[in-house]
Symmetry: C2
Subunit: 189 residues, 2 copies
DNA sequence: ACCGGTCATTAACATTTGTTTAGATTTTAC
DNA sequence: GTAAAATCTAAACAAATGTTAATGACCGGT
């Protein structure tokens, strides 16, 4: 709870009263390892703020294979935000990779924030800009670096990920097969 | 000019006076085909709104090869927005592919908007959310569809692009060689 | 109308990446 | 503690994609 406090105060100026009113609309929840925070096909009605633990987001491709498209760490927001924004069935599932505690921010809380927080829209803008930077960087990496280079750099984006996530999920994130990633590592030694 | 008018009014509610004050800080500019709206290495100090024409954004990879990472059409905003936000040298160049007219929105105008427009932050949030949706969709396509499928779908994202952009730039956008794209097309016939 | 450059296609060949299978090790669940 | 599952590596082979080079069509500028 304090973690979300600190994160919000870091992003915008917000009074104690505003903060309390907002947090009164949220609640805490803990998921066991491998539990799902949200499922593909459901319309996303909440945004999670991770206070401890780690999640991955997955998607199913045209051939029925699952891909890990994203990792989310402590201090980050996670949802199928496209589903949340547009109210379409989510294409992603979000799964805890460790025991993971989150603050659940229901749609009501978000909407209340935009309507009643003095800097609610600024908060939304700042978070959206943050994800713009993340996506833009990720896209550039795709064009600029080889898979081997992207593997070498991944810990800069997801600190300590090698100790927390199986390698085949990292390979999936990079868009290559686990066998191939193993090969690339061998080559770079 | 009317086009930016209409786009802004579509995104937020804004009074005539606010709109005029904001637009007074902007100006129109026209680029010839092949001219550069902005160059890699410079810090982006303005956002362009395309009123007519078409641009591409390019980036240079680790081996010195140029890639087309993005197209922008009439009615869209374009910049190296990461450079604009963080004030780092831009990694992208933006080039007109046809004669292209834009409204130039300098940093001063954007900042004025956030400070003085009643819904300035909401505007920023909405635009950032729009790009979130674009990037998220693009990322999912990368995992879910084959290059051939992505080629087939590209006109849904960039209407009429096949008649306006050379095929090798589309191949570059898709992340494949022009020779390979030609092969894929042959196979699907 | 011409000329030079850009562009799309094709073929041959090289390289990268995926798939399958197997084996050894580690982790997880009960 | 033990059995089952998950994980990583390895090798052999298959498929996808890149590279180079050649050709002809098309386009833009003069």
């Amino acid at each position: 709870m304090e973690k979300l406090h600190a994160t919000l105060r870091h992003l915008i100026s917000i009074s104690d009263e505003e903060l309390n009113d907002f947090l009164a609309l949220c609640y805490e929840k803990t998921f066991a390892a491998k539990a799902f925070l949200s499922h593909q096909g459901e319309i996303s009605q909440e945004i999670f703020f991770i206070t401890s633990g780690l999640t991955r987001s997955t998607i199913i491709d045209h051939a029925g294979n699952e891909h890990t498209i994203h990792f989310s760490l402590e201090g980050q927001f996670i949802a199928d935000y496209t589903s949340f924004l547009v109210s379409t069935p989510s294409t992603n599932s979000v799964q805890a990779l460790e025991e993971t505690s989150v603050m659940v921010m229901p749609r009501k809380a978000i909407e209340w924030g935009y309507a009643h927080l003095a800097q609610g829209d600024k908060l939304g803008r700042t978070i959206a800009e943050f994800y713009f930077l993340y996506f833009d960087n990720r896209l550039k990496n795709q064009y600029v670096f080889t898979p081997a280079q992207r593997y070498e750099n991944i810990a800069q984006i997801f600190p300590n990920i090698h100790n927390r996530v199986p390698q085949h999920m990292i390979a999936s994130y990079l868009g290559i097969s686990p066998v191939h990633l193993s090969r690339l590592k061998k080559g770079s030694r």
